[in-house]
C-alpha cells in the first residue's frame, strides 16, 4: 500500500513535469529539423541556427541590445539596490515600511501597467523613442532594484549590527567598515541579486515592448515575428538558445542557494555542539 502510494505520488509529479517541459522539448527538437516550417520533422539539420544569424532575420542588433541592457541594468540595480538595502536596514521602522511598500509596487503591479506608465513618463519628459537603449536601461534598472533589495535584506537581517560597530571601534572609518566588514558579510545576497537581476532583464518582454521605442531586444523580435502567422524554425532555434542560457543561469542561482542553506545548517550544528 505504501509502495503504491509512493508510485502514485511519483507518477503525478512526473506527469506535471512532462506538462511543464514537453512543449519546450518539442520546440528544441524542432529547431533541429531541416524543413522551413516548425511543425513538421524533415531530417536533421543545423540550418535553423545558420538562418538565425543570417542578415534577413536581423538578430545581431537585438542580441547586442539585450546583453548591453542586461549587463548595465543589473550592475546599476545591484549598486543602487545594495546601497538602499544597507540604508534601509538602519532606518526607523515606520519610514522603512513606507519605502519598502512603494518599492514593492513594480513587483505587484502588472508588467503591462509598469510598461505603459514608464512609456508615458518618457514621452512626457521628452526622452525620445530614438533613445531606446537609454529608456530600456532605465526601465530595466527600475524593475530590477526591488529584487536586489529584497535579496540583500534577509542577509542583512542575518548578520549582526555589532560587527559594523566593532569595526569602527577597532579603527575603521565608516566607509572601511562597510567595504571590509558589512559588504563581505552580505556578499552571497548581493551576488544572488545580481544574477537574478541579469536573468530578469534578459527575459523581460512586456516592459521592454512598451519602452523600447526604436530599439528591439530578442523578446521583442520574437514577438514581432511570431505574434501573427506562421512559425519559422529559426525562431525555435532562437528560443532554444535563450532557454539554455537562462536555464543555466537559474540552475547556478538555485544550486548556490541550496548549498548555502546546507552550509548554514552545518554551521548551526557546530555552534550547537560547542554550546
Amino acid at each position: 500500500m505504501k509502495k503504491f502510494l509512493a508510485f502514485i505520488k511519483g507518477a503525478y509529479l512526473g506527469i506535471v513535469v512532462l506538462f511543464m517541459y514537453l512543449p519546450i522539448a518539442i520546440m528544441m527538437f524542432m529547431s533541429l529539423t531541416q524543413s522551413r516550417s516548425a511543425t513538421r520533422w524533415n531530417g536533421f539539420s543545423f540550418g535553423a541556427y545558420q538562418k538565425l544569424f543570417s542578415p534577413e532575420v536581423g538578430i545581431i542588433d537585438p542580441l547586442i541590445t539585450t546583453f548591453v541592457v542586461a549587463v548595465i541594468s543589473s550592475l546599476a540595480a545591484t549598486l543602487i539596490g545594495t546601497m538602499t538595502a544597507i540604508g534601509l536596514h538602519s532606518m526607523k521602522k515606520r519610514p522603512r515600511a513606507v519605502v519598502e511598500s512603494i518599492t514593492q509596487l513594480p513587483m505587484v503591479n502588472p508588467d503591462l501597467v509598469t510598461g505603459v506608465s514608464m512609456m508615458l513618463l518618457f514621452a512626457f519628459i521628452g526622452i525620445k523613442q530614438e533613445l531606446g537603449l537609454f529608456r530600456l536601461i532605465i526601465a530595466h534598472t527600475t524593475f530590477n532594484i526591488p529584487y536586489v533589495i529584497f535579496s540583500v535584506m534577509p542577509k542583512l537581517r542575518q548578520s549582526s549590527d555589532t560587527l559594523y560597530e566593532a569595526a569602527m571601534d577597532l579603527g575603521c572609518s565608516p566607509f572601511q567598515a562597510l567595504t571590509k566588514v558589512v559588504i563581505p558579510d552580505i556578499m552571497p545576497g548581493i551576488v544572488s541579486g545580481l544574477i537574478l537581476a541579469f536573468t530578469l532583464s534578459l527575459d523581460d518582454f512586456t516592459i521592454s515592448y512598451f519602452v523600447g521605442g526604436t530599439k528591439t531586444n530578442l523578446s521583442m523580435l520574437l514577438y514581432s515575428k511570431t505574434a501573427k502567422g506562421g512559425v519559422g524554425t529559426e525562431f525555435c532555434a532562437l528560443s532554444t538558445l535563450m532557454f539554455l542560457v537562462v536555464g543555466i543561469l537559474l540552475l547556478i542561482v538555485n544550486l548556490r542557494s541550496i548549498r548555502q542553506e546546507k552550509e548554514q545548517a552545518e554551521q548551526r550544528k557546530k555552534v550547537m555542539r560547542k554550546a
Partner: protein, 274 residues
C-alpha cells in the same frame, strides 16, 4: 547612523522619478484633457461596447486559470513537502525554474504544439481521424495561461508547506485524526497563506496578459491587456489606454484586498484554535 544616507539616492531620486511619477502620469492621462480635468474617458470606457466584454473575458480566463493551477499545483507542492528535504530541494527546482523563464518563449512553444499542422493536431488526427481546430480558441489561451502561471502557484504553496511544523500533523494523528481529517483540519488551514499568495501571483498576471491572447487567441479571444496594448501602441490613444490601465489596477487592488481579508479572517480563526 550614517548608513541611512546610502539609501537617499534611491529614496529621493529613483523611487519618486521612476516608480511614483509614472503611476501619476497614468492617472493624469486618464483624467485630464488639454490640461483640464475630465471624466470623459471614464465614461467612454463604460459606455463603448468593446471594453467591458474584454474585461469579462479577462476575468473569467484569470479565474479558471487560477482554479486549475490551484488544483494541479497543490498536490505537487504537498508531495514535494513530504519528500526527503535534500531530494525535495533539487526536485522543486524543476517545478519552480520555469517561473523565471521567458513567458513569451513558453507561449510560443505552445503555439507550435497547437498549430493546425503541429504535434498535437497530428496525434489527434492519427487517433480519431479528424483534424481539430486548436489554435485561436479560448481553450488555447487557457492552456497557455495555466502553463505559464503554474509555477507561480507551486512556489508559494511549496514554501508554506515546507515551513509547516511537522509536529502539528503528528499531534493530529496521535489524537486519532484520520488522514483525511488531518488534511482538512490541520494541513489545509495552515497552508492558507500559501494558497492566498499563489492565487494573487496567478490571478493578477493572468488577467493582465496580452501576449498570450494575441499569440494564441488570434484576435478571437479579446482580453483587456490586448485592448490596452492596441490603444497605446497602435491607435496612439494613451487616454483610453491609461483609463483601462487604471481599471486594471483597481481590479488588482480589489482582488488583493479580498485575499488579505480572507488571510486575516483565517489568521484569527487559527489563533482561536490554539
Amino acid at each position: 547612523m550614517k548608513r541611512v544616507r546610502l539609501s537617499y539616492p534611491y529614496i529621493s531620486v529613483w523611487m519618486p522619478l521612476f516608480i511614483i511619477a509614472p503611476m501619476l502620469f497614468v492617472l493624469y492621462y486618464a483624467t485630464f484633457k488639454d490640461g483640464a480635468f475630465t471624466l470623459e474617458y471614464v465614461k467612454q470606457v463604460f459606455t463603448t461596447t468593446n471594453y467591458l466584454p474584454a474585461l469579462w473575458t479577462s476575468i473569467w480566463i484569470a479565474l479558471v486559470t487560477t482554479a486549475v493551477c490551484l488544483i494541479i499545483g497543490y498536490p505537487v507542492a504537498y508531495i514535494l513537502s513530504t519528500m526527503n528535504k535534500r531530494v525535495a530541494a533539487l526536485v522543486s527546482i524543476l517545478f519552480i525554474m520555469p517561473m523565471w523563464m521567458n513567458m513569451l518563449l513558453r507561449t510560443f512553444a505552445w503555439k507550435m504544439v497547437l498549430d493546425d499542422t503541429g504535434v498535437l493536431a497530428s496525434v489527434i488526427n492519427a487517433l480519431t481521424g479528424n483534424s481539430p481546430k486548436l489554435l485561436y480558441t479560448p481553450a488555447a489561451v487557457l492552456i497557455a495561461t495555466i502553463y505559464d502561471f503554474l509555477p507561480f502557484m507551486i512556489l508559494p504553496l511549496y514554501t508554506t508547506l515546507m515551513k509547516m511544523d511537522r509536529s502539528h500533523i503528528e499531534a493530529a494523528r496521535d489524537l486519532g485524526a484520520t488522514g483525511v481529517q488531518t488534511f482538512t483540519k490541520v494541513i489545509l488551514p495552515l497552508s492558507v497563506p500559501g494558497i492566498i499568495s499563489g492565487i494573487t501571483m496567478v490571478f493578477v498576471p493572468a488577467m493582465s496578459t496580452f501576449a498570450i491572447s494575441r499569440m494564441l487567441g488570434g484576435g478571437k479571444v479579446k482580453m483587456i491587456g490586448e485592448v490596452i496594448e492596441r490603444k497605446i501602441m497602435e491607435q496612439n490613444d494613451p487616454a483610453v489606454g491609461s483609463t483601462l490601465a487604471i481599471l486594471l489596477i483597481i481590479l488588482v487592488i480589489i482582488s488583493m484586498a479580498i485575499m488579505n481579508k480572507v488571510d486575516k479572517e483565517n489568521g484569527s480563526a487559527g489563533g482561536t484554535l490554539w
